[in-house]
C-alpha cells in the first residue's frame, strides 16, 4: 500500500486515541483559583512562589548542609590528623558552606520532585498501586528525608511545613498499605491527596524547569 494512503487511514483511525470526555470546567476553574491563591501573596500567582523557592530551600537546607559538612569535616580531619598530627581540627567545618549548601538545596528540590513523581505514579496506577510493593518501598525511602526536613530548625515557613506534614502523612499511609485490603486504602489515600491538593502544592514548590528538560528536549 502506498504510504500516503496508509497515513490517511492511520490518521483517521488515530482520532479515537485517548478520546477526551467533556471538560470539567468548573472543577478545573476552582482548582486554578485555589492554586493561584496558595501560590503567592495577594494573589500574585504561583510563579512568585516558584521564583522564591530556591532561596527558601537554601535556608531550609542550611542545617542539613552544615550536618553534611560536619561529617565531611570529621572525615577530612581524621585523615589530616594521621598525616599531620600537630595541626588543629580542619577549618572547613567552620567555614560558611556555599557550594555544599547549593547542592543541598538541589537535593531538597529533588526530594520534592521525587515525592511528586511517586504520588503522580501512585494515583495513575489506581487500585493496582495497592498491591505494588515498589510504592511502599519508595514511600518509606522518601519518608525519612521528609522527617529530616521537618526536623530542621531552619524550617520556619509555615506553608512549607504544612506541605511537608501533609506529604509525610500520605507517605506513611502508602508505607502501611497492606496487600489484603490495599484497594480500599488506595481510595482513601487518593481521596486525601485530592482534598489536600497535595500534588498541585508540590508542583508549586518545585521551581519551574528544575531537573526537567525543555519542552523540545526529546524532539
Amino acid at each position: 500500500m502506498i504510504d500516503d494512503e496508509w497515513d490517511q487511514r492511520l490518521s483517521k483511525a488515530a482520532r479515537g486515541y485517548h478520546q477526551p470526555p467533556e471538560t470539567p470546567r468548573e472543577e478545573i476553574w476552582a482548582r486554578v483559583q485555589a492554586g493561584r491563591r496558595k501560590g503567592g501573596k495577594a494573589g500574585r500567582g504561583i510563579l512568585s512562589f516558584r521564583q522564591s523557592a530556591i532561596p527558601r530551600f537554601q535556608v531550609l537546607a542550611w542545617a542539613a548542609g552544615v550536618a553534611a559538612l560536619l561529617v565531611i569535616g570529621i572525615g577530612i580531619g581524621r585523615l589530616t590528623v594521621k598525616s599531620q598530627p600537630m595541626n588543629p581540627a580542619p577549618e572547613i567545618v567552620t567555614r560558611p558552606p556555599t557550594r555544599q549548601t547549593a547542592a543541598m538545596a538541589v537535593a531538597a528540590i529533588q526530594h520534592l520532585s521525587r515525592a511528586e513523581a511517586l504520588l503522580t505514579g501512585f494515583r495513575a496506577e489506581g487500585k493496582a498501586a495497592g498491591s505494588d510493593a515498589n510504592f511502599s518501598a519508595s514511600a518509606r525511602d522518601l519518608l525519612s528525608n521528609t522527617r529530616l526536613l521537618l526536623d530542621s530548625p531552619e524550617l520556619t515557613d509555615p506553608q512549607m511545613r504544612g506541605l511537608l506534614e501533609d506529604l509525610e502523612l500520605v507517605l506513611v499511609q502508602i508505607t502501611q498499605l497492606s496487600a489484603e485490603d490495599g484497594h480500599g486504602e488506595v481510595d482513601l489515600i487518593t481521596d486525601g491527596l485530592k482534598q489536600r491538593g497535595l500534588l498541585p502544592r508540590l508542583r508549586s514548590a518545585i521551581p519551574a524547569g528544575s531537573a526537567v528538560p525543555s519542552a523540545q528536549g526529546e524532539i
Partner: protein
C-alpha cells in the same frame, strides 16, 4: 471582545475577564492534555497548571503569535514535563512483573484501534506529541513548531518518523486497510 482586549482587562485586574479568557480556551487545552496524558486526573492537573502559569505570566505575552498558540506552548510544556517525570518514575519502578504484563498483552491481539492506541503510547514522547497534535488534534506544523519551540521542518520530520514507526508496528494490519 477579542483575546487582546480580554487580556488587557485581566491585566487590569478584572476577574470576570479572567474567567472569560479561561472559558474561551479551556476546552482546547484540556483536549490536548487529555490526548497526551490519557488519564482524566493527569489531564486536569495539566490544564490547571497551564492556566495558573499562563495567568501568572500573562504580562509577558507580547502578542507576536495568537494567544491560543502561546497558551498551547505553555500547555505542551506543562504536559511534557509532567509526563517525563511520570516516565522517569515508572522506569525506576519497573520490575519483572511489568515485563510479564507486557508479554501477556502482546499475546492477546486486540483490534486495530486498540493496537493503534498501544503503538502510539509506545512512540517516543517527542514523536507522540507531534503525531497527536497534528494527526489527532489537527494542529498545523506552524502551530506545533511554535508550541514546541522547534522549526516547522522539524515538526514535519517528527511526524514522518512517527508515522513510519506506526506503519512498521502495524504492518500486520496492512491487509485490513486495503480499499
Amino acid at each position: 471582545m477579542d483575546d487582546r482586549e480580554l487580556i488587557a482587562r485581566v491585566l487590569a485586574g478584572e476577574a470576570s475577564a479572567e474567567r472569560a479568557l479561561y472559558d474561551r480556551h479551556v476546552d482546547r487545552v484540556y483536549r490536548l492534555a487529555y490526548r497526551l496524558a490519557g488519564d482524566p486526573d493527569l489531564a486536569m492537573d495539566f490544564t490547571q497548571d497551564t492556566f495558573i502559569r499562563a495567568f501568572d505570566r500573562l504580562a509577558s505575552y507580547r502578542g507576536d503569535a495568537a494567544f491560543s498558540t502561546w497558551l498551547t506552548a505553555v500547555a505542551t510544556s506543562v504536559a511534557l514535563n509532567g509526563l517525563r517525570k511520570l516516565k522517569r518514575f515508572r522506569e525506576r519502578e519497573t520490575d519483572l512483573e511489568q515485563g510479564d504484563k507486557v508479554a501477556s498483552k502482546r499475546s492477546s491481539e486486540p483490534d486495530l484501534k486498540e493496537r493503534l492506541s498501544r503503538e502510539i503510547d509506545r512512540l517516543p514522547l517527542g514523536y507522540r506529541t507531534v503525531f497527536v497534535m497534528h494527526d489527532v488534534e489537527g494542529y498545523t506544523h506552524e502551530e506545533i513548531g511554535t508550541a514546541l519551540g522547534v522549526e516547522t521542518g522539524t515538526s514535519k520530520a517528527q511526524l514522518s518518523r512517527a508515522r513510519a514507526k506506526l506503519r512498521e508496528a502495524l504492518a500486520d494490519f496492512a491487509g485490513e486497510w486495503k480499499p
